[in-house]
Symmetry: D2
Subunit: 140 residues, 4 copies
């Protein structure tokens, strides 16, 4: 079993709100940090995929369940897994923690689009990198 | 049938990303604008509820489905409805549009907490206002 | 004397931080709202200038002095004036208020660049509109 | 001579805008990351100062000059120095770089306030920690 990718960073003051905790939309930003690191661990930068192939991962759906609040200066760990992959759709699942406390769980679904905003197929090279050895794939 | 609350504003440049469309986390910010306006339409500011009663609406869950991209300078309409209400839980549902185009649909679930972060009951006055059975009147 | 452009909106919860006031970087976002509205009042959308002419206003400098804190739900007014204009440089100055209270004063300096990031000249049409010698009229 | 504090992180997709570069207000967020790390290097978390002493560093002024654009996935280094310190005022200066390229230079001025928003003196313990061995101080 492949381990989830781990991203680590501290909560920024900018990310808090007047309730004294992290504003809820920022968890979606952290998920993006998680999937950027996931791609890097698979051997490419998401930046390359946009730059070289003009293939973009547009978000089709995002969900988050909030269990405990994150606070300024907390050390956050985002655990990212790819839970679905085919030529048109990629899904990531996330666990967001500080220490041993689970703060939130989330999921994002992405469709591959071109610069015109229309669906296209995932470029072969990136599909292979994402599939990796331990990645679930609907293509087999 | 009560109409949904409508919030209107233009997309800010800050809200776009390098894909040329609005970054996905910002839709959750717009939902917050929607529920702030919803409260105001029911006769109170969410600010008062925090300030006077020390009752906070913590987000327990957030979902968003993205149908079409929003772009800089688009006129956005957020339609907000309350789809669940009891002493402990409030749920809002949102439609985010520009012109006649549905851009996204979402939902947020909130639990009432005190300043200590523990669940508490929604203050009676605000429960009534949200139920819309207690429109502000000095005579009753 | 031409009046400053006025932009009006309410402080979003997302814009506050755990100090209970608006996070300082958000004032720069509000300045951007101000200059977007300024362009619109002069007869064009900044969006068009980017889309049609591939001319971009890159920020070269930004300053803000903070006098009093803005709070959630405050009604904000941004007063925007153009304080410098030539073919290469545009400068805007801002006063940010709530009611009669001056919250902040700021200034941004922009240089005109092309899609390659290199300096270019401001397109004639937009220069005229900004100078306010070319107010939109179908008769001239 | 004491070295500046170095903060390192990658540009988030959320931080870009449709010009394909980092939105200008985010540099102020990065400055905040810089001064948080600065405090930590001096032996305390800014979080403690707020939590234990109810002393807050309110931003009175912020400036940024932008030399070159930062892009998604760039490795950013923020170099933070304290350039002024007395019982009422702290000033930080920043250099923001990627590789050997200077992207931006900035400065923030902070006044010490209490929970009521009124100026107060910097708590002795934190003043001493900030003064450190190599810190400029107007108190000697």
């Amino acid at each position: 079993m492949r381990q989830p990718t781990e991203s680590r960073f501290r909560v920024r003051y900018a990310e808090t709100d007047q309730m004294g905790v992290v504003y809820y939309a920022n968890y979606l930003v952290w998920m993006e940090v998680g999937r950027s690191d996931f791609c890097r661990e698979r051997g490419f930068s998401y930046r390359e995929m946009e730059g070289e192939e003009k293939a973009y991962l547009a978000v089709a759906e995002a969900n988050c369940r909030y269990m405990a609040p994150a606070r300024y200066d907390n050390e956050i760990v985002v655990e990212t897994e790819m839970t679905r992959l085919n030529r048109r759709v990629v899904e990531f699942s996330y666990k967001i923690k500080t220490g041993s406390t689970l703060l939130a769980e989330g999921r994002t679904v992405h469709v591959v689009i071109g610069p015109d905003g229309r669906p296209r197929q995932m470029p072969e090279r990136y599909l292979k990198l994402l599939q990796d050895k331990g990645a679930p794939s609907e293509n087999h």
